[in-house]
Symmetry: C3
Subunit: 352 residues, 3 copies
Amino acid sequence: MNKLFAIIVFVGVPFVLIGAFLNWPEMIMFFLCCVSIIGLSGYIGRATESLAIVSGPRVGGLLNATFGNAVELIISIFTLKAGMVGIVLASLTGSVLGNLLLVLGLSFFAGGIKFKRQKFSVHSARYNSGLLIFAVIVAFVIPEVFSMTMNPEKTLSLSIGIAIILIALYLAGLFFKLVTHRGVFSSTEEQENDTEKEIPEWTKGKSILILLLATVVVAFVSEQLVHTFEMLGSTFGWSELFIGVIIVAIVGNAAEHVSAITMAVKNKMEVSVEIAVGSTLQVAMFVAPILVLVSLFMPQSMALVFTWPELVAMITAALLVINVSNDGESNWFEGLTLFAAYLIMGIGFYLL
Amino acid sequence: MNKLFAIIVFVGVPFVLIGAFLNWPEMIMFFLCCVSIIGLSGYIGRATESLAIVSGPRVGGLLNATFGNAVELIISIFTLKAGMVGIVLASLTGSVLGNLLLVLGLSFFAGGIKFKRQKFSVHSARYNSGLLIFAVIVAFVIPEVFSMTMNPEKTLSLSIGIAIILIALYLAGLFFKLVTHRGVFSSTEEQENDTEKEIPEWTKGKSILILLLATVVVAFVSEQLVHTFEMLGSTFGWSELFIGVIIVAIVGNAAEHVSAITMAVKNKMEVSVEIAVGSTLQVAMFVAPILVLVSLFMPQSMALVFTWPELVAMITAALLVINVSNDGESNWFEGLTLFAAYLIMGIGFYLL
Amino acid sequence: MNKLFAIIVFVGVPFVLIGAFLNWPEMIMFFLCCVSIIGLSGYIGRATESLAIVSGPRVGGLLNATFGNAVELIISIFTLKAGMVGIVLASLTGSVLGNLLLVLGLSFFAGGIKFKRQKFSVHSARYNSGLLIFAVIVAFVIPEVFSMTMNPEKTLSLSIGIAIILIALYLAGLFFKLVTHRGVFSSTEEQENDTEKEIPEWTKGKSILILLLATVVVAFVSEQLVHTFEMLGSTFGWSELFIGVIIVAIVGNAAEHVSAITMAVKNKMEVSVEIAVGSTLQVAMFVAPILVLVSLFMPQSMALVFTWPELVAMITAALLVINVSNDGESNWFEGLTLFAAYLIMGIGFYLL
């Protein structure tokens, strides 16, 4: 797996560079950028992981919680810079749907094929489901409904207020999980296993260097990627929504998808759920509000107002996942149900 | 009970026949058809039950899962043939509401009057609630919201896609319940009781004969019934919605209603819940999508787009039932709550 | 605490009286009325408590369940009399949001700072969450959605029907909790503690006298308060919604807020939850429907149709609280989550 990522990066990135200078056709550039970003995400993930281990659990948790969706944040900032607010909101939606339905669905399914029942912490599931309702159902629905009878200026004020509250609660949640209620979330068995394996892949210095380098390269490639979005729309007839919800979201999260499913097959369902749902919460409570705040310095500011199809897809996905995961158990059929929901939404966004 | 059904059928059906030839007033025909269908449903139910026992648990489960709502399917096909798409969607809604709120409510209430607390499998409740959210909240809401910004052609494509996914997941669910996770759902006590009683009422041949005969007669009576719908509207001032949601749904499900409540009073709450919620899932995941596909060969095709009152009634009913049943326990007050919700919706559809 | 209430009442009420005769500026009157009502609520609460103890648990429960929101009912009736239907609906919304998010949030937070985990009865949580879904999601949503395609007359008929069903189910719920399923809800430990402390503060006669007196004075002060609402709008630019949802709701429920939080800090989370959620249910299932019925004799009748922001705020609040409290445990972070949701909604209503 790691070798594959290395090949992808060391072949893909130079080609993106050459292509950018020679103005290669956007079709080819789109493909090269996507592949390179997936490879680079793998490096960022491994560097973060190594750094997290050497920094101890608290700082490590914080690192994972902030760098976990770095790639997505970078792509979104360049998309914002290009003034494509609609694609940013769509890709946030796509991240939420992709993590909740596609990643969790495939993890439950792949794991469930091998094991009859897989368990994960009920405490963690409850913490996650409370925040899912808070973020997706309270914080995303309120501006949507209230903005219907508000002028755009007030809608933006409301969005800024909500963004600050989301970030504050996200940080408080980290404090809760890593400090005041540490150890409540993972089963003891899990913890022991983890301590045995905690050997970092890279040293502290090497990790930081790779993290910085990969981030810079991702930023460059993302900028190239964003330029190809308009072409995608005109060539394939794909809508902004479909590009954001399905394409950008899958590219931006591919590395996480692979590791979540790998963990599920190893019966470490605890980790799979943490990657999938944790990443969703990070997108909804950290990446999305930061983008709202960043957009204030951009040509076009972004209110936290999704389209109705996006919002309804996220709400229904959240309700489905909460219901399916609340008992701390999974099986292949629950995975298939989540995947089927993703399929329905995918068809919907494609036809829209 | 069985004698009553026999009298109803052997008196009612000939009268429907005579009435159809002599063009009796529609008022009388409506009453005769309703009564005959209720009686015939009883026969279909018993024939399916007998066949299920002789065929063993797997094929039996499959039989129950496909013939359980045969009557409803037949009435709906004739209604589709008459081009009354609105009534078909309304009767699907009515089936969902009737099963979830009326049948389950009366079962909980009647059982709860005799027993302080009644228990049923938590696993089964969770399986059901996951699929309820999938069917009612994901699969029904998505086309509703997405169709607001889609042309009718794309809406129909989306409906067809969702219909296929619903049927596929329904079949996968049967495979899950009957093959890979058999035995997980019913408590061991229940299973032992069941094996003792498994004596079929009729032989295999007799069951198949009765099933075929009753189905043909139901088809004939249904066609007569559908002809009376227009009169109902003009005579009583009932809307299409009210006829579908309340009248057709009660007639089409009467036989199941009786057996669910009977089981609850015998403290076999497991079976009651299975009849009520299982039948809801069958309607939502099997009957409804099949009708969408069948409608493609009919004068007017049917997209899976309900009216907002119908959709909202189903969503709120599903959320209420999931919340009330998730603990695997019931009492009379929970039953009354479900019944009160049905009453509110009934008044709403009557006034609409 | 009690001394403070005494000072407030015996200083505040005479000033309101003098102000009313001398036509003091509405700004000052608004402040005086609010303070006096908070003080008087304290007296009504203590008188009800004393009466409840001497009357035994059943009649006591009934007393608490009917007089618990007496102050709110009185303010609302005077607001109805002044024809401000919008403010009444807004203050009902505010009561629901205030109790569910602010009171419960602060209770969980304050209690959670002192204790790592606090427990309360799971049975009680389930009973409450079932009724929350029934009241807020079924009984409030149905008229909202159905009224979109109904004339105002039919909407009022539907509201009256729902009001009667809500009151009937509320009374049935009391019968369930106090008679048929008494003892199921509180843990045995709790019950023993309670029996020790059950010494009424005042005698039966004194309690009734204080209850009557305080109610009459609240009525008088409420009438003065209602007159100041128009000024609030024009002076501060506050909307009807904000006055109702935030200001009236906080004044009308202040006494309960204090006692819920006090109980949480004493680790009697059972009582806190009962005050917060019990009060919500009382408002939704008893106060709101009674106001609908009372409004029929008023200049302007009140249908049970909220504005969309009000309804959506209540629905999302209910879903969040149900999810957070369903496990019968609380911690400071859950409290903070509820409080953050209140803050988001408060900003929303302020900007609206």
